[in-house]
Subunit: 355 residues, 2 copies
């Protein structure tokens, strides 16, 4: 612990290292990479210490009078508001529903908090609300409560949406990073990179022969298929900001396991691969909004894969790797040419405001 460079810090201000290197918030602090984790660890976890936060999972599971309640939140600041395959409204529902699903919960209720910028066309807001309604119906959840704030022109960006979600977790089911064991199989639910590239294509005015649409979708049904099939699921993580790479590094770190994955087992559509080459992105780090990884008991690998592939959202599911005691805390990729490469978290971000 040391003091920051600021001259006018309030008495008693002590900023945890390594935040003192950054006197201001950077865009990269929201990118899902190492800087974001430093910000969360150094400021929020430091201040808010609680057993639920220590789990470092997509949501908390709380015991309330015998009911096991999953609770999660996300704010959505995606730009542009509308993109091929979805909009901020579909994202705001599916993103939070998916975080509940990653806890093994059946998603039930959402809250909706809107921060509107003065001057936002009313029609835009109406379209977003309609998307949220449709996405909620598709995911089988209901809006229970909400809030609306308006900020002056130039102090927001059209509309920001926050959703919090609650769901029910079956008794005895514990799905979180600490459950990962050496020898677990790692399944990926489908091809990666479509959400990030769909957004970047709109922003950069790129046109592809086959238009790329976001993969934004609710994945609770695919998770339920695994659980109903009796698969021993240890951990789930949806691949949003920071992509597959960041999700795997987070879990390897939290679980203290090594993760070995095979590049050729990771489905990337041709158009996405091409766009990544043009834009200079690595698909492993590109955001998704309808994809997840499942860490399951090694002996269940083939059966879990078959179950996922029977689900509409899991047709391209793939067994991408295993956990082991080797290289604890690290993710190692066997590349297309057979070389071993260490997969690290990005320091900052490659795609700001992707969700």
């Amino acid at each position: 612990m040391t003091t920051p460079p600021s001259e006018d810090r309030p008495p008693g201000f002590v900023c945890p290292l390594p935040l003192q290197q950054y006197s201001q918030v950077l865009l990269a602090h929201g990118g899902g990479g190492r800087l974001m984790h430093q910000l969360i660890d150094g400021i929020f976890l430091e201040a808010f210490r609680s057993p639920a936060l220590e789990n470092r999972h997509d949501g908390a599971v709380l015991d309330l009078q015998g009911a096991r309640i999953a609770f999660t939140t996300d704010s959505y600041v995606v730009r542009p508001l509308f993109f091929p395959g979805g909009d901020i409204g579909t994202l705001a529902v599916n993103g939070t529903v998916n975080d509940l699903a990653m806890c093994g919960a059946r998603p039930l209720y959402l809250s909706a908090g809107f921060i509107l910028e003065e001057g936002l066309p009313m029609e835009t807001l109406w379209r977003v609300a309609q998307s949220m309604r449709d996405a909620a119906r598709a995911a089988g959840v209901e809006f229970a409560t909400g809030d609306t704030k308006v900020v002056d022109r130039g102090k927001g960006d059209g509309v920001f949406v926050n959703t919090a979600g609650i769901g029910l977790v079956p008794q005895g089911l514990v799905i979180q990073p600490s459950q990962v064991r050496p020898g677990d199989a790692i399944l990926l639910s489908g091809d990666i990179g479509r959400h990030g590239i769909a957004i970047m294509a709109v922003r950069e005015g790129l046109e592809f022969e086959t238009p790329i649409a976001s993969d934004c979708a609710p994945v609770a049904g695919a998770v339920q298929a695994l659980l109903d099939g009796g698969i021993e699921v240890h951990c789930l993580r949806d691949l949003t900001r920071g992509g597959l790479a960041s999700a795997l590094v987070e879990i390897a770190t939290a679980a203290g396991c090594g993760i070995q994955i095979t590049e050729t087992a990771i489905p990337v559509h041709e158009a996405v691969r091409g766009a990544c080459e043009i834009l200079g992105f690595d698909p492993l780090y590109v955001a998704n909004e309808g994809r997840f990884v499942a860490f399951v008991a090694g002996r269940d690998a083939e059966r879990a894969l078959a179950l996922l592939r029977q689900h509409p959202l899991g047709r391209e599911a793939s067994l991408i790797g295993r956990t082991s005691e080797r290289d604890a805390g690290l993710v190692v990729l066997e590349s297309r040419i057979g070389a071993a490469r260490l997969v690290d978290m990005l320091s900052g971000e490659q795609l700001p405001r992707i969700c």
Copy 2:
């Protein structure tokens, strides 16, 4: 239902009246008055219809495997971030904790969603997080889950905070507008107008002989005192945006009762009254962040008042009026000079971004 003036509306776009008068969101749509209610009814309730939303309460009460869970959310966009008596962090905790208390719930867990503007001093964020920690400790709640997003410089305003909260409601306790009965006593928990005036004083650079500090505080303890005392509580409402007047009009409308209140029974500190005169505000409409009204069975009025006054946050509690079958849906104020005046909701807002 009719179509809006916009020329490029998407096929099938039908905007509910009277929103079609407003093709864009105005600051006043966030002010807690009639325009905000039109926006919420016309866009969000219209799209999201659910039994919980129909209650028009500060939070929803959901039955989850036998547990009665209160669930609520608010976003906080107050400007300036720091003000006498609190900051955006204390507001973000107390505001949501108070919404839970208004459902009769014991507040337990909060989520925290941050939307940071690039360039925000890290120290500011740290101070806000510390305030949130302290306020959570004081209110007896824990942070269970969170999220951080960063938007580009000029697309936010320092920091916006969303909190959602969950709490437990005792079996059999139903506190909501539909429970209000003719003959209920209406108690106000303390003096009004301090939060709004504290903020305006900073914004306008006003100095008073006695500095005015926000009343921002968690009120769950004061509510609990009423419940523990066996008071038959029918409805509770905290007095935030739109002030006492808007809260009473909302409840009169939702409950279909008439409300009669006496101006001389409403405590307003001298400094607040003076500032209101200078600024041209009516204290009835000024925001509070640690005050609530309780609708209790008429026969419990005196006992409830005594219980509130014993609580540190209720020392200036006052019996301000009654409900009746007369003037159903309306709020009538007996003024200082004995005249009857109809209290209406503000159309827009008098104090933007007060919370």
